[in-house]
């Protein structure tokens, strides 16, 4: 019994990481209907940048690199959106998909060139192995717990921003009706770029957390994109809390599958995803009328 409970618990914690992957994707899709196929590669890029920054600046903890990484990734996201992605947005969904696919190839191979194909890891020190004992013989690792806290906090922050600030109001209006938002005084290209920048901030955080938790390499991006994507779809389009729930459901599906056989972990996640897609094509907690 405690074995199952443990699986579920670990699944929830794993899911929090997936939700972290997915938060930026959910925001950007909600605001501008853009699915960035390179999203996972950007997370990998952040992890590598954190690695490089930590080595370069001699930080004791990779988490400290976030001080630089967060503004850096915001600017990167803003510029990328304004120069490359905004021109591609329009009725034709092919262009942004193909462009971001191209970006994905560029990033993966760029990282291969810069860092080789070796597997890498960020070292979080004692945080990585510490754990907290719970009743019923269960234990939670401090790092996964921290991930859960950060993930929920970040999503909560995004949610607060969307519903309680002038910026959030503009983002929601723009996602409802792009051309009318412009007519009401919203500088839509700038706003899209700000949303992309915010998404990149979540990507930076996701990159550091996943880099500490597990090893990664230049081509890990697509795997993470798929988890992010599955979390968003399971949770339902347009809902950030749904994305958190979606991540957790995915995490639990994976850890449950892993109980049968380690190689079944990913497969069970995909199968649950596909099943949910068949029965609830708009996800479990969808928000908007598509």
């Amino acid at each position: 019994m405690s074995g199952w409970l443990d699986s579920i618990l670990q699944g929830l914690l794993l899911g929090a990481l997936y939700a972290l992957f997915a938060a930026g994707l959910s925001l950007v899709f909600g605001v501008m209907r853009l699915v960035n196929v390179a999203h996972g590669d950007f997370i990998v890029l952040s992890a590598f940048l954190a690695l490089a920054l930590q080595r370069l600046l001699g930080f004791s903890s990779p988490f400290l690199t976030l001080i630089l990484l967060v503004p850096l990734m915001f600017i990167f996201g803003y510029l990328l959106q304004r120069t490359v992605l905004n021109p591609a947005l329009g009725e034709d969904i092919l262009r942004p998909v193909l462009i971001t696919f191209g970006l994905s190839v560029i990033i993966q191979n760029g990282l291969l060139q810069a860092f080789s194909a070796d597997s890498q890891k960020l070292h979080g020190g004692r945080l990585e192995v510490a754990s907290i004992a719970l009743p019923a013989g269960l234990a939670v690792g401090t790092l996964p717990l921290l991930t859960l806290v950060v993930s929920a906090a970040l999503i909560g922050l995004l949610q607060w921003m969307l519903y309680n600030t002038r910026l959030g109001r503009a983002l929601r209006a723009t996602s409802d009706d792009l051309s009318t938002a412009g007519l009401m005084g919203v500088n839509t290209p700038h706003l899209f770029a700000v949303a992309a920048g915010i998404a990149m901030v979540t990507v930076a955080v996701a990159g550091v957390f996943t880099g500490v938790r597990a090893s990664f390499d230049a081509v890990s991006g697509p795997d993470w994109l798929i988890f992010a994507f599955e979390a968003v779809i399971i949770g339902g389009l347009g809902s950030l809390w749904g994305t958190l729930a979606g991540g957790m459901i995915l995490g639990m599906a994976q850890t449950t599958g892993a109980r049968f056989s380690p190689s079944w972990q990913l497969l069970s996640g995909h199968l649950v995803f596909l099943a949910i897609l068949i029965f609830w094509p708009r996800g479990l907690f969808p928000r908007r009328m598509e």
Binding site: L34, V35, E91, F101, G102, L103, V105, I233, S263, W264
Partner: protein
């Protein structure tokens, strides 16, 4: 303004003099290509064969994305499936490889039907990633099949490889001919489809599905038809590819890079045209020939070229060229022509068969 005279005879035209000339040229070229095993060396023959199967999968991806509006990032699922069906049938069940090849296509078509059920529930970019997930699921599933080598894959035994030869024709020639045939058929069948009534329906659906539906077009049926047909073709091509490679593994067969190549070829050449994939495959091969020793830089270059072309020349190399000169070698556009002598203007109703907004 269209001036309509009283007794005008209106015809629907599809070909033009350019396309008729091109048709003639194509026949000459195809004859040459079919005969090339007789006069071309093995190395070049093998390169041509690769050209053909890249062209085939590109044409099919183009039909799916450029005409049916289904952007699939998971066609490698069919490629790998076709390969594994071939290996399974010929190794485990003693089928003749050529028969197994055809069966691989059939299995691809059959899998496409429930596949569509899952995949069509999504739209646009989410459809794209959904198909990627399905391909990844295939990869993971096949990695579990120990009888076919699980994660490390399996090689084709020599006995099966030898069975590919047909009478006096050597194995290489048979494979070459099959590749040429598949490339030719994928182009030709796409062309035939687009010229037909179904093709008109397809174009209407791609341009504006809601309007097409209200005009009576069964958009779901036509999209399903295209999805199943490309499932067949891609699986068949996958079987051929792995028959010639003599070894298959999940990581290689279901590699998303196959989709990268399809996208690159179609995007650079010109999406939504039939000439585009031909041009794109040529460019792809040229780049590979001269730059592949650059390793990752070569792929980075491909990515950069794809991004730049998508931003600056969304119609691709061929598309941009064709539009500026209004040329079409595979004419699928339908024009209305007035033949009355006293009409002051010709009307041209554009059913954009090849332009992609």
């Amino acid at each position: 303004m269209i001036v309509q005279p009283m007794h005008a005879a209106i015809r629907v035209e599809q070909s033009s003099s350019t396309s008729r000339m091109a048709g003639l040229g194509a026949l000459v070229l195809i004859a040459a290509l079919f005969s090339s095993p007789a006069w071309l060396d093995r190395g070049h023959l093998s390169m041509l064969m690769e050209f053909f199967y890249f062209l085939a999968i590109a044409q099919m991806w183009n039909l799916l994305a450029g005409f049916a509006g289904i952007i699939s990032l998971g066609q490698q699922a069919f490629l790998g499936l076709g390969g594994y069906v071939l290996f399974s049938l010929s190794i485990q069940h003693g089928w003749n490889p050529i028969a197994a090849l055809l069966m691989a296509g059939v299995v691809g078509a059959l899998v496409a039907i429930p596949g569509a059920l899952v995949v069509f529930r999504l739209q646009g970019a989410y459809l794209a990633i959904g198909t990627w997930v399905v391909a990844e699921t295939f990869k993971l599933a096949f990695s579990e099949v120990t009888s076919l080598g699980a994660g490390s894959g399996i090689s084709l035994p020599a006995s099966v490889a030898r069975a590919v030869s047909l009478g006096p024709l050597h194995r290489d020639t048979v494979l070459y001919a099959a590749a040429l045939l598949i490339a030719f058929l994928s182009t030709f069948c796409s062309y035939a489809l687009l010229r037909s009534q179904a093709g008109l329906a397809l174009t209407a659906v791609r341009d504006n599905e809601a309007t097409a539906r209200s005009a009576g077009v069964n958009s779901l049926r036509i999209k399903l038809l295209v999805f199943v047909a490309t499932g067949f073709g891609t699986a068949l091509t996958g079987a051929l590819i792995y028959l010639s490679k003599l070894r298959i593994s999940p990581a290689a067969a279901f590699d998303v890079n196959w989709t990268s190549y399809m996208i690159f070829i179609v995007v650079i050449g010109g999406i939504g045209t039939l000439e585009g994939p031909i041009a794109g495959t040529l460019v792809f091969f040229l780049l590979r020939q001269y730059l592949s020793d650059l390793g990752s830089w070569y792929l980075i270059l491909l990515g950069v070229v794809a991004v730049v072309v998508m931003l600056r020349m969304p119609s691709g190399l061929w598309g941009t060229f064709a539009k500026s000169r209004d040329i079409s070698l595979f004419p699928t556009r339908r024009r209305l022509a007035y033949s009355a002598a006293d009409s002051r203007a010709t009307g041209e109703v554009m059913y954009p068969g090849k332009e992609h907004r």
